[in-house]
Assembly symmetry: C2
Homo-oligomer: 392 residues x 2
């Protein structure tokens, strides 16, 4: 089947935007994504659109896909909304790849959008609660922070992971986010800040939790038949993997790993013909600090149980052997649910087109994105590579 | 790209089921779909799932795809929820076709589910309202019946379509639904019943409107590389077309046609290499009686303005030249939003495998399904054919 390429990607600022609508945010991201295509793109070239969003529901329960594409002038094209909680637009990108590989489309827009900050905190809690398992988790009072706290507890108990390890994730991601003009919380935090912040769900402090964020992001995927029209330095989506799991954490065999991430990564590596050692940088799903540590292990960047030491070693910092979340991650860049997966593509695109500025990973040739829905009910992994610099 | 086939499809009874959950309904449909595969299927053969649903949101806002696939034992496979209002699972089938054609999956489950009858009528009205255009239609008090009433008014004014024409749709579809043991309103209605029923939104009476329904439906799509394992009489998904449009009716150029249906049909015919004359039967989106009349015209079964006479001629009745909604359609079979598109596949599968019993269209060789989201913000059309009986 023919190859798919990432020919452009961009995002809005992530933050709190009371004067923006989901449509206006999507439009800003779409226009910037078109502008990011090296040889430019005529929006009329877009054959199809896939839009990831969770909660636009509050405004437009049905047809929120066409509701945003009509606003950016993409009238008439096939448009589908996809949703897998926080992995909505990671799955939108995957569906764009399938559409291209199927031969049914040459250029596909994969975008995502979320407005979160205009809900009351009770509403947000409810809203996020229902993205986990509803019947047995939310209705018994378990929050998302509570679910991830259980995973952190289990990892600390089994492997000796510490609060300092969790805090180092926050320090690293805020240091990166401080270099990202689009970040929601674009400031640095110290280890002390992270360790001593108020407890949200023990052992997770405020700095171990991502913020509630508004934003949109768009990625443009093109087939091998047309990629040359848009760039002379193609970025290939070499591997795609996805997996699902029991929606409720309590129904899984392990609390110290996210099996869906593990399976998705394995599929993506296999399809791309690479191993974790071949990955130069990664954007991983750090909705809570423990999630980034689990990702290191599930993606094969280190052995099970070693993630705490791995982050403490500096390996995943900018300049380390395998920088992770150079964008700031969900922690510092922000986590507008439906936009997060496409937002990860934005950082991968910047890194592989060597336009990441102060955050540039030197010689970045192959990157990975990792987007998780809920506490691991769904996961999707992409491997992207700068075709001119990888061996055929 | 390789061909995709419909190797099985089944649905639950459609109706009001206070003792069922969305998970239990989906399970019933999935197990029946597996049972409908001629040579049988091991559920482990399913590589991927796509689930269409609108309102499971009330129960499980995020991850409702994995929430149902885990319940039927499809642990671990990639699973995505898609939503395009009432066309949710029509798009799920389309995505299954893309997944198969992309080479990333050999067997894909495309299902849909909705529970609607447990909401209060105010909630249902709100809920359905937000599937239309929210900002300018719903917030000004326009209901879905109101939107379709405007279309009916316009068609009557422009073409002389009559209340009797609308009522003939209801009479025909109830006559068909009375032959379908899965139908929600499986009883006949007379022309007088339909004409004289209470007005819902003038000129639409109660019998011109589909009911509020619970139900689930599943379709199983397989690639040409594995289809022989499941059947020796393959039903090919020969054409797929989809299009979007302005979500709000007031933003479109015409009230007497659904442009997205027209474009989707054209794409599907082109891909299948057929014309409307080649279609032996069709399941069309008759959420309101006017919608079926518009479909006749938009799908090319008759000329613009002639739909009223077309239904009055008996052409679309069982035994007519082109039977439409032999299942009973949304009107009589019922319209559990997320399940409707996959439910249309069930009737197409029955007709083409010649297992439709009293509703069998003699010699049915090529059928069409037509699923609309909102008042035409999205539409998806499939053309299916019994491969053994069509010319190569």
């Amino acid at each position: 089947m023919r190859d798919a390429y990432l020919v452009g990607a961009a995002q809005t600022d992530f933050g709190s935007f009371p004067d923006e609508s989901y449509r206006s945010l999507f439009r800003t991201a779409f226009e910037a994504a078109c502008d990011s295509v090296p040889a430019g793109i005529d929006p009329d070239d877009v054959d199809e659109a896939v839009v990831g969003t969770l909660g636009v529901g509050g405004r437009q329960l049905g047809l929120s896909g066409p509701a945003v594409t009509e606003h950016v002038g993409l009238d008439g094209i096939p448009c589908t909304r996809v949703e897998n909680a926080c992995a909505a637009s990671g799955y939108a990108v995957r569906q764009a790849v399938q559409a291209v590989k199927s031969g049914m489309a040459d250029v596909v827009l994969a975008g995502g959008v979320e407005i979160m900050t205009d809900t009351s905190s009770d509403a947000t809690k409810y809203w996020l609660g229902v993205s986990g398992e509803t019947e047995w988790e939310r209705l018994s009072g378990t929050t998302f922070a509570g679910v991830y706290a259980q995973m952190a507890d289990a990892h600390m108990e089994k492997y000796g992971t510490t609060a300092e390890h969790l805090s180092r994730v926050a320090v690293k991601n805020h240091a990166n986010g401080a270099k990202n003009p689009h970040a929601h919380l674009g400031f640095e935090c110290s280890l002390e800040d992270a360790m001593n912040a108020q407890v949200v769900a023990d052992p997770l402090t405020l700095y171990h939790c991502c913020p509630t964020t508004d934003g949109a992001a768009c990625a443009i995927v093109a087939s091998e038949d047309v990629v040359d029209e848009y760039t002379d330095d193609p970025i290939r989506i070499a591997g795609v993997g996805a997996a699902s799991d029991r929606v409720g954490l309590f129904q899984r065999d392990t609390y110290t790993s996210v099996p869906a991430s593990r399976e998705a990564a394995q599929s993506a590596y296999e399809m791309a013909g690479v191993t974790p050692e071949d990955i130069d940088f990664a954007e991983v799903h750090d909705c809570f600090a423990i999630a980034e540590l689990l990702a290191y292990e599930d993606l094969g960047f280190c052995e099970p149980g070693e993630a705490g030491e791995f982050v403490a070693s500096g390996a995943t910092e900018l300049g380390g052997e395998r920088p992770v979340n150079t964008s700031g991650g969900l922690k510092s860049k922000g986590h507008p649910i439906g936009a997060t997966g496409a937002g990860q593509m934005v950082e991968a695109y910047k890194q592989l087109s060597r336009t990441a500025g102060d955050r540039q990973v030197e010689g970045a040739t192959r990157g990975l994105t990792h987007n998780v829905g809920g506490s691991g009910g769904a996961a999707v992994v992409h491997v992207l590579e700068k075709e001119s610099e990888v061996e055929a």
